[in-house]
Symmetry: C2
Subunit: 224 residues, 2 copies
Amino acid sequence: MDPRVPADERILQAALARIAVDGLGAPLRTVAQDAGVSAGLIIHHFGSREKLLDACDQRVLEVTQQQKHSALTGGGGAMLAQLAAAEEYAPVVGYVLRRLQAGGPLAQRLIEDFVAGAADYIEEGVRAGVISPSRDPEARVRVLVHMALGSLVLQLPGQHSPLDLADLPRWMREYTDSLVAPLLELYTTPLLTDSSLLETYLATQPEPAAGPGGSAPSTDRSTP
Amino acid sequence: MDPRVPADERILQAALARIAVDGLGAPLRTVAQDAGVSAGLIIHHFGSREKLLDACDQRVLEVTQQQKHSALTGGGGAMLAQLAAAEEYAPVVGYVLRRLQAGGPLAQRLIEDFVAGAADYIEEGVRAGVISPSRDPEARVRVLVHMALGSLVLQLPGQHSPLDLADLPRWMREYTDSLVAPLLELYTTPLLTDSSLLETYLATQPEPAAGPGGSAPSTDRSTP
DNA sequence: TATCGTATTGAACGTCAGTTCAGCCGTGGG
DNA sequence: CCCACGGCTGAACTGACGTTCAATACGATA
């Protein structure tokens, strides 16, 4: 790899790409080889494997924060698709997908970020009159984002099958394309012909919670 | 564990439960301890760790096949919730969630099974008049199931955080409950106020594919 | 030039996990 | 009674991986 960029940066990028391809749990030595350095140097710069992953997480958050204004067209995952289209970001997107797949704190954090971003976008749509208002906008956005990201994660190859980074943009585009038609139909024509289900359900439920957190389940992630 | 049931069966059940709790990659020795046998005996009976997982997969398929007629109320994941409610099945459900999380062939297979099951259920709803017909029923079911299962998988704890089996029924119920209100709204009131998006999109697309496989992307799982 | 600190390496270490293997033990048949 | 055999164990082997460490190369500084 290009030795003009400092070793620690090379290591970070190699780690993002390698983990995107091989999944979390990619061996340190593999990352080292990709970066053209020894395994010991990674420890020297980052302290431990864990810390290296922390640095990757940090980098990811920087990139996604800076891209926050991106559109969430189509249900949520399209921001990722859009990012992945700029091929320099493919490693970051692949890493994000692997993180979402693996679960854990960063996954939750990223999901919340996506929810927040989508909330703004959806609200705009509501103001513009192209999206229906909701009784519980927070809960609705949460559901939409969970479904969009979740269905994307389900398409990932196994944790030990490689993810082809060069092919990632095409792959994501292909999948999101396959979703557009049924999603548009689903979001245009009501799935349920009878609104009595909703009404009777609402009749038995209290008003949607007003405070932050909405109707999400317990946030205790330790014993779900 | 009860020594009246044969050792190989005890091992299988221990493996299902332990993997549900600790994720795939739970050490053989841990499973062995749970089953009250030595690690060597697992190899003796199943040949290798890989083969043991194959046996678990087989067992899962038997259980889900036999439960195929279950309802998919609420969007798809509810079959799992229903199964998990019968606490003897909690290990199987946990194992399925771990498998879906990890991706790979069994995950794809299970998803396809769920799609098939949901297709029947949805079709019934359409005939009964409570669910709108679709231009592309297969694609619609696929999207619904992917979204339902995907959002569920996203809620799982990290692969190395334990999943509390005893709490699984309550946990799943809590999550699906939190989905009911926004989902009912989403499926009763059109999200998009204007059908022109759908119409203009359909105008640029050919008829939905008629053959099996629908509008799914390439089925090549090796290099997505 | 001498020196010091930083970057970097390659070998070695400890651990963990899957697998192998030699043997033990109880049971049923000769 | 003896023995063979299948279930079963525990120790040992092997490979992978994170981490440590002593040694080296290099560049800045006095």
